[in-house]
């Protein structure tokens, strides 16, 4: 998906032969007639993007107004940065930022390396049937909904009869209700994410590894490289650019914790550690009706994400790594 973005830019660089000479772009009417069928096919999609992607971006200006539905977007009073200021000075802000960043760090430093490790382990398997079987199994959880994953967690950790509740409490000699204990919120979120997405995440690495020239391995063997050395000197360099691209994307998404998982896992007892930007926007916006305030929170988050993704991309390019743009 990432290089697809790069591909978008590389299309007009002459790699593809043009069907016909480029038309005169100033001739608008001529173009409309000439491309009428293509424009007609384009229409529903353009309408979709206008309605559901760009109109909300226009509507996001209510972050700078005191939006009152009755008065409409333009009719509501302009208040400038007021909502942003009240969010940043709100005691909720550092807590939410901290919760979000801790969850993102767990993803970046634990879940992400685990994905690479699993991909490397799969890559070392020479028995194709074993490789395919394991792949089939580890991809499955990706397709289950967060509702199902959270429900499974609820059943596995059910107080009194859940298998994992019994097992972990026996092992620790404790009597914890994991689902209500704030100390267990983050480990459970990490556990769910790893279970659901690690297998799926290996696809992109395995694809990159499939492109590695086998002769490189043979040459390494002839040079006396052991298994570990081959992984270190051949396999890892082969997926380095993939790792960099995914790291860029993940850094850009550092404030995106995934609404559904966190919302479904949060409850009255763990809200102190469970509140993140996405759920905070929901609680303040949808449940309390503070449309302008919650829009400001969401907008601040989206803009920081945008800056992060361009920043890490520029950094990667400076470090002579392929970026995504």
């Amino acid at each position: 998906m990432t290089t697809a973005t790069a591909d978008v830019e590389s299309i007009d660089d002459g790699t593809l032969v043009r069907r016909e000479p480029p038309p005169n772009r100033r001739n608008l009417l001529g173009n409309l007639v000439r491309y009428r069928w293509l424009f007609l096919l384009l229409l529903p999609g353009v309408l979709y993007f206008a309605l559901f992607r760009f109109w909300p971006m226009y509507g996001a200006q209510i972050a700078f107004r005191n939006y009152i539905p009755f008065l409409g977007i333009e009719g509501s009073e302009w208040v400038g940065w007021e909502h942003f200021e009240s969010f940043f000075s709100n005691p909720d802000f550092p807590r939410i930022l901290g919760n979000t960043l801790i969850l993102a760090a767990l993803g970046l430093f634990i879940a992400f390396p685990l994905t690479i490790v699993l991909a490397l382990l799969l890559n070392e398997v020479r028995l194709q049937i074993l490789k395919r079987t394991v792949q089939t199994l580890v991809y499955i959880p990706h397709f289950l909904s967060w509702t199902v994953v959270v429900s499974l967690t609820g059943l596995l950790f059910a107080v009194g009869n859940g298998p994992l509740w019994t097992f972990i409490n026996d092992a620790l000699g404790s009597n914890t209700n994991f689902l209500a204990d704030p100390d267990w919120f983050r480990p459970l979120i990490l556990l769910q994410s790893v279970w659901k997405n690690t297998g799926w995440g290996t696809i992109i690495f395995l694809a990159a590894l499939a492109g590695v020239d086998q002769e490189q391995y043979e040459a390494a063997i002839i040079d006396g490289a052991g298994r570990w050395q081959r992984v270190w000197h051949v396999t890892l360099p082969a997926i380095r650019s993939t790792i960099v691209v995914l790291l860029i994307l993940q850094t850009g998404n550092v404030l995106d914790t995934g609404f559904e998982q966190i919302y479904l896992m949060s409850n009255a007892l763990n809200r102190s550690v469970a509140d993140v930007f996405d759920t905070y926007v929901y609680f303040t916006g949808i449940q309390q009706g503070a449309y302008s305030y919650s829009t400001a929170v969401g907008l601040a988050k989206a803009i920081v994400g945008l800056i992060l993704i361009f920043g890490t991309n520029a950094l990667a390019k400076r470090l002579k790594q392929p970026g995504i743009f």
Binding site: G45, M57, E124, F143, G154, G162, F167
Partner: protein, 294 residues
Amino acid sequence: MDRRTYQRFNTRAGRVFDGVNAVVLIAIGVVALLPFLYVLAGSFATELEITTRPFFLWPSEITTASYESILSSRVFVRAFVTTVIVTGVGTVIQLALTALMAYPLSKIDLPGRRTMMSLIVFCMVFSAGMIPTFLIVKELGLLNSYWALILPMAINPFSLIIIKNFFQELPKELEESARIDGANELRILRSIVAPLSKPVLATFGLFYAVGLWNDYMSPLLYLGDQDKWTLQMILRQVTASATLTADDMNSDVPPPAQGIKFAVVMVATIPVLLAYPFLQKHFAKGMLIGSVKG
């Protein structure tokens, strides 16, 4: 790899590593499946067994009471049927909109194409967020309508770009000859491009279907009316509080409160698992078509 090189691979340490690696990977595969197998077993177990036995993969007494209980619930059956319809209709609409837009964008001489592609890429890295989108859906009068589950997410920009790239790489000769024969673009898309793109369209159709089936956020945001709730909403309600059957069960026997949780999870999962073999057949290929350069 030829035999000679393979033998150099095949040292004793290499074999030990292979063995350990196989064991570890099999364990990981089992872990991926185990929670699901436990719930499958639990959904056929008696209430007593679920509440007394901490872990089992085969119930000592097999019963379908939990399934009978949820299937006799009007609320549940209605939610199931609704979700099937929304998923079916939604998949067709979303895939059609995506493919229709991907086709013109795959024509490199289309005026305005670069601008449109930039705007689409922009939508991948920036979105207005939950509340402005909610307000637009409200403005359009789609609250409490099933269209709110389908339309706001009709075109996924990633899928759009991958399908576009796929169209772009199809051999041009067939299109050319059809064009010379006087076929218009709509016809070329329908009778040449679409048939050639079946695997990629099937893949993204299934992705859309799984997304619609699994969606929790849209019904949470847009369906305030409890009578319209979809399966994922009911699943959440049942597993969080076990209140599904309290008010609409006809029987005098109390419903198996734990058992129905297991059964509802299974019913919400099984359609996805049925689609999985088809998904798996194509997704690796479908996902990579757009991302591999060249």
